[in-house]
């Protein structure tokens, strides 16, 4: 097919879809649609992980991002009853400047990174590091301490989220009982 292999076709299609969906996230007015486009972007990125032989990360990415984090976002948006009518919009000049700054940043990045070596990625069954067995070995030997620290971080985030969400209701109930 035009001299390209299947992997290259898949890479092109997935990249195109990822960039299109990411653009839709920014340019859609309705926040619910934005979340759904972001989920599609994450699926495209998970496809890239599969192409890169990182099977474990692809599964974790779908479970954690598309399954947990995005549902949390959707939940909050539904809770706040946001839609396109309530969506605040920046001034047209600010948006124009934001687009221009993004374009300039892209220009600088492409210019700076253009000189990277044309290395070919090792792909197609040769790499086994993305499997659960090998990642688990590295995670529980070399990175055991950071792994434990991550558990403390998650616990702290859990307690913090509950405390932040709860304090206001306590104040309100106190005010209600006082008045």
């Amino acid at each position: 097919m035009l001299g390209y292999t299947i992997t290259q076709w898949l890479f092109g299609i997935l990249s195109f879809l990822a960039i299109m969906f990411a653009l839709m996230v920014v340019f859609t007015r309705n926040p619910v649609n934005s979340v759904l486009y972001l989920v599609l972007t994450f699926f495209c990125i998970a496809g890239h992980y599969l192409l890169l032989n990182a099977q474990f990360l692809a599964v974790v990415h779908i479970v954690v991002y598309a399954g947990a984090i995005m549902v949390l976002f959707l939940f909050i948006i539904m809770l706040m009853n946001l839609n396109a009518d309530t969506e605040p919009r920046k001034h047209i000049g600010t948006r124009f400047i934001a687009g221009m700054v993004g374009g300039i940043l892209l220009f600088v990045m492409v210019g700076a990174l253009r000189g990277a070596e044309q290395l070919q990625l090792v792909q197609g069954g040769a790499s086994q590091i993305g499997l659960v067995k090998n990642l688990g070995k590295v995670l529980f030997s070399e990175f055991l301490f950071p792994f434990e620290i991550a558990s403390i971080l998650l616990l702290a985030a859990l307690v913090g989220a509950i405390m932040i969400g709860k304090r206001d209701t306590n104040i309100n109930s106190k005010e209600n009982t006082n008045s």
């Binding site: 890169l52 909050i76 600010t94 687009g99 913090g160």
Partner: protein, 103 residues
């Protein structure tokens, strides 16, 4: 049959995704959309880490991505709790309203 893709393509894809996230943070006023754009930036970096991990055949990069996911999950939990607090007090999550904090 499977042919490799040059690392340059992954660098460019990650740069484009990252910059879409940056533009989203600058151009939107809805705090939740800004959060989502930050997630997009994190994912662009994750993709590049996995690409280089495969290139160098080193598992450390993928373990790093694993940790970044854990940190992102913690960040989203706390951030959305703060946003729901803000919504409760202001009845809006327009970040321009939060500038009244400086008065």
């Amino acid at each position: 049959m499977l042919n490799g893709i040059p690392i340059n393509f992954y660098i460019m894809l990650s740069a484009v995704l990252f910059i879409i996230g940056v533009v989203g943070v600058m151009a939107r006023r809805n705090a939740i959309i800004i959060f989502m754009c930050i997630e997009l930036m994190l994912n662009a970096v994750n993709l590049l880490l996995v690409a280089f991990s495969t290139l160098h055949n080193d598992a450390s990069g993928q373990v790093f991505v694993f940790f970044i996911m854990a940190v992102a999950a913690a960040e989203v939990a706390v951030g959305l709790a703060i946003l729901s607090m803000v919504y409760r007090n202001f009845k809006s999550i327009d970040i321009d309203l939060l500038s009244r904090l400086k008065n």
